[in-house]
C-alpha cells in the first residue's frame, strides 16, 4: 500500500500547512484573550473583513496577497487598537458576559454589513502559479498552501519575538499576568490592551490574506472561523501562544484526516466534539498552560 501511505502523507502535510494558517488566526485570539481577557467573538468577522480587502486589492490593484498583507496588517492594527481603546476598554470592569455580547453585536454588524456591501456570492484570489505543486520526492505539496504556511510561520515568529524581546511586549506580558500589579508599577494598562488587540487584529488579518488562497470567501464565513479559533485556542490552552499554533496544526491535520476517512462535511463535528470534551475535562487545554 505504498500509494495509500503517500496519499495519507500528502493529506497530513496539507493539513499541517492549513493548520499553520489556522494557528496564526488562533494566535491573534490568544493574544487578545490572554492579555485583555476579551472573549473576542468578532474574531472571525475581523478576518473576513481582511479577506475582502485582500480580495479587492487583488482584483482592482493587482496586489497579490503576499504583498498586500503588509498594508493590510498595518490597517488592521490601527483598527484593532482603536476598537479596543474607544469601545471595549470601557467594558473591562463589566462582567465578561457583557463583553461577550458587545463583541457578538459587533460580529453581527460586521457580518451583515459585508453581506450588504458585497453580496452573498463567494470570491477568492486565484494566483496561477500557486496552483502548481511542489514535489518533495514522492510527495506533492500544494504551492499556495506552502507559501501561506511560510507566511504564517513568519508572522507567528515575529509575534513571538515581539513578546519575548521588546519592551512593550514584556510590559504586555506583565499586564496579562497581573493586571493590578502592572498598574501599580505604572504601566498604562489600557494602552497595552489596545496594542494587544491591535496585534491580534493584525495577526488575524494576515491569516485572512493567506486564507483567501486556501478557501472561498463568503460574507457569512465569520462565525465558523470564530468558532474554529476558539476550538483551537481552548484545545491548545487559553493564553498559550505556542498552544495556539500547535492547536491549529492539530485541528488542521484532524480536519484533513476526517475529510479523508469520514464524509468531508462531517469534519466540523469532530472539532466541536473535541471542544466539548476539552471544555469539560481539561479546560486548561491539551497542549499548553500559560504563555
Amino acid at each position: 500500500m505504498p500509494l495509500d501511505l503517500i496519499n495519507l502523507a500528502n493529506v497530513v502535510i496539507s493539513g499541517v500547512l492549513t493548520g499553520l494558517v489556522y494557528g496564526l488566526m488562533a494566535l491573534g485570539l490568544s493574544v487578545i484573550f490572554g492579555v485583555a481577557r476579551i472573549v473576542n467573538f468578532a474574531h472571525g468577522e475581523i478576518m473576513t473583513m481582511a479577506m475582502y480587502v485582500a480580495v479587492f486589492a487583488f482584483a482592482f490593484f493587482d496586489l497579490n496577497p503576499f504583498i498586500a498583507l503588509i498594508p493590510i496588517a498595518a490597517v488592521f492594527f490601527v483598527f484593532g487598537y482603536f476598537l479596543q481603546a474607544a469601545v471595549i476598554n470601557r467594558f473591562i470592569t463589566r462582567p465578561e458576559q457583557s463583553q461577550f455580547m458587545l463583541l457578538l453585536a459587533l460580529a453581527v454588524i460586521i457580518m451583515n454589513a459585508l453581506l450588504i456591501l458585497f453580496g452573498p456570492d463567494s470570491r477568492n484570489a486565484q494566483l496561477d502559479y500557486l496552483l502548481e505543486s511542489i514535489e518533495l520526492g514522492p510527495l506533492l505539496v500544494d504551492r499556495g498552501k506552502f507559501y501561506a504556511a511560510l507566511v504564517a510561520c513568519g508572522a507567528s515568529a515575529a509575534l513571538f519575538a515581539f513578546f519575548r524581546c521588546s519592551r512593550t511586549g514584556t510590559a504586555i506580558r506583565a499586564c496579562a499576568d497581573n493586571w493590578l500589579g502592572a498598574k501599580v508599577v505604572g504601566l498604562d494598562v489600557k494602552r497595552l490592551y489596545a496594542i494587544s488587540f491591535g496585534l491580534g487584529s493584525s495577526s488575524v488579518a494576515i491569516a485572512g490574506c493567506m486564507m483567501i488562497l486556501l478557501f472561498d470567501l463568503t460574507p457569512g464565513a465569520g462565525p465558523a472561523y470564530t468558532l474554529l479559533a476558539f476550538v483551537i485556542v481552548i484545545v491548545g490552552g487559553l493564553g498559550s501562544m505556542s498552544g495556539a499554533l500547535a492547536g491549529g496544526v492539530l485541528i488542521g491535520v484532524s480536519e484533513a484526516m476526517a475529510g479523508l476517512f469520514i464524509a468531508p462535511s462531517a469534519k466540523g463535528m469532530f472539532s466541536f466534539a473535541l471542544l466539548i470534551l476539552v471544555l469539560l475535562f481539561r479546560p486548561r487545554g491539551l497542549l499548553g498552560g500559560r504563555s
Binding site: I234, G268, F272
Partner: protein, 323 residues
C-alpha cells in the same frame, strides 16, 4: 405586581387578542414572529436572566424539538399535540446532560457559552447527515389548507397560528412570573448574583442550575414544535444555526434580562425596528438582504453600550411599574 402593571398587561392582552380581526396577513405574520421571539426569549431568560448562565446554543432545543415533532408527524402521522411530549422530553434530557456535565465540571461563564455553541453546532452538522429526517435537503410537512382549521394537526389559517403562539407566550409569561416571585426566582437570582453567598445560605447550586436549564430547554422545544408546523419545512442549516440562538437572545438583552416584561418588550422593539425598515425599503423598491440582521446587531450594540440593563428597567421606572 401593582395595579398599574396589571392594567397595562390587561390592555396589552386585549390589543393582542383583537389583532387578527383588524390586521392584514402581513401584520399578522410580523406579530406572530414577535410573539414567537417573546416566547423563546422568556424561555431563555429563565436560564440567563434568572440563573445567570449565558447559553448561546438554544437553537439546539428549537431544532431538536422541531424535528422530533415533525418526524413523528411525517413518518407516523402523529399529531403535534402528542409529538410535543417527545420534543419536550428529548430537550429536557439534552438540557439535563449539558447541565449535568457543565455544572458538575464547573464550566461556567464564557466556557459555558462556548460549550452550548459547540453542542448546537455539533447537532447542526449531525442532523445534516441524519437521513431519516431528510438530512440537509430538509424535511417537508404537508402544506396546510389556508382556510381550514385543523387544530389537532396544527394546520390552518394564520390567525390560528397567531392565537396558538399568543397562548404560548402568555403561558410563558405567566410561568416566568410565577417562578420569579417564588423560591425558584429568589434562589436563581441569588446564584446569579453571588454563588458563594448563595451556597452559604443553603442553596444547592447544582440542583437549582439543573432545574433552570431543564425548564428553559423544555420551553424552548415547544417553540421549535411551533416553528415546524408554522413553516412546514425544516432544514438543519437553518433551525440549528447560531443565528437562531442570537435571535432568541436579542429580545431579552435589549428589553432587559432578568425582568418579566423585558423579553416581550425587546421582541416587540426588534420586530418593529426590523420590519419597519424592511417596509420602508420595500416602499422605495430596494431589497437588501441582511439589513434586518444588521439592525439587530446595531440595536444590540447600542443597548450594550448605553443601556446595559435593557430598555425595560428604565421604562418601567418612568411608568412607575415594577419588574
Amino acid at each position: 405586581m401593582n395595579g398599574r402593571a396589571i392594567f397595562l398587561l390587561a390592555s396589552l392582552g386585549m390589543v393582542l387578542g383583537m389583532l387578527p380581526f383588524v390586521a392584514n396577513d402581513y401584520v399578522l405574520s410580523v406579530a406572530t414572529l414577535f410573539l414567537f421571539f417573546a416566547y423563546a426569549g422568556q424561555a431563555w431568560n429563565i436560564l440567563m436572566g434568572f440563573a445567570g448562565q449565558l447559553s448561546l446554543g438554544h437553537s439546539v432545543y428549537l431544532g431538536l424539538g422541531a424535528y422530533a415533532a415533525a418526524a413523528l408527524h411525517y413518518h407516523f402521522g402523529i399529531g403535534p399535540w402528542a409529538g410535543l411530549w417527545l420534543s419536550m422530553t428529548l430537550c429536557a434530557a439534552l438540557g439535563a446532560i449539558i447541565g449535568a456535565l457543565a455544572f458538575r465540571y464547573s464550566v461556567s461563564g464564557v466556557h459555558f457559552t462556548l460549550l452550548t455553541i459547540a453542542v448546537a453546532e455539533f447537532m447542526r452538522i449531525g442532523f445534516d447527515h441524519f437521513t431519516w429526517i431528510g438530512g440537509s435537503a430538509g424535511l417537508f410537512l404537508k402544506v396546510s389548507q389556508r382556510n381550514q382549521i385543523d387544530l389537532l394537526n396544527l394546520r390552518g389559517t394564520p390567525a390560528m397560528f397567531y392565537y396558538v403562539i399568543l397562548a404560548l407566550a402568555a403561558a410563558a409569561f405567566a410561568l416566568s412570573t410565577w417562578l420569579l416571585l417564588r423560591r425558584p426566582g429568589y434562589y436563581w437570582q441569588a446564584i446569579r448574583e453571588n454563588e458563594d453567598a448563595a451556597q452559604a445560605l443553603g442553596i444547592n447550586i447544582f440542583r437549582w442550575k439543573m432545574l433552570a436549564i431543564i425548564i428553559s430547554a423544555s420551553m424552548t422545544s415547544l417553540g421549535g414544535v411551533f416553528l415546524a408546523f408554522y413553516y412546514n419545512n425544516l432544514f438543519p442549516e437553518q433551525v440549528f444555526h447560531i443565528s437562531r440562538s442570537i435571535e432568541i437572545i436579542l429580545g431579552p438583552i435589549i428589553g432587559g434580562m432578568g425582568t418579566l416584561f423585558g423579553p416581550v418588550l425587546g421582541a416587540a422593539l426588534l420586530a418593529l425596528l426590523a420590519d419597519g425598515a424592511t417596509e420602508v425599503l420595500a416602499a422605495t423598491g430596494w431589497e437588501i438582504p441582511g439589513l434586518k440582521q444588521l439592525i439587530y446587531g446595531i440595536a444590540l450594540f447600542v443597548v450594550m453600550t448605553l443601556l446595559p440593563h435593557g430598555v425595560w428597567p428604565e421604562l418601567a421606572r418612568k411608568l412607575k411599574v415594577s419588574k
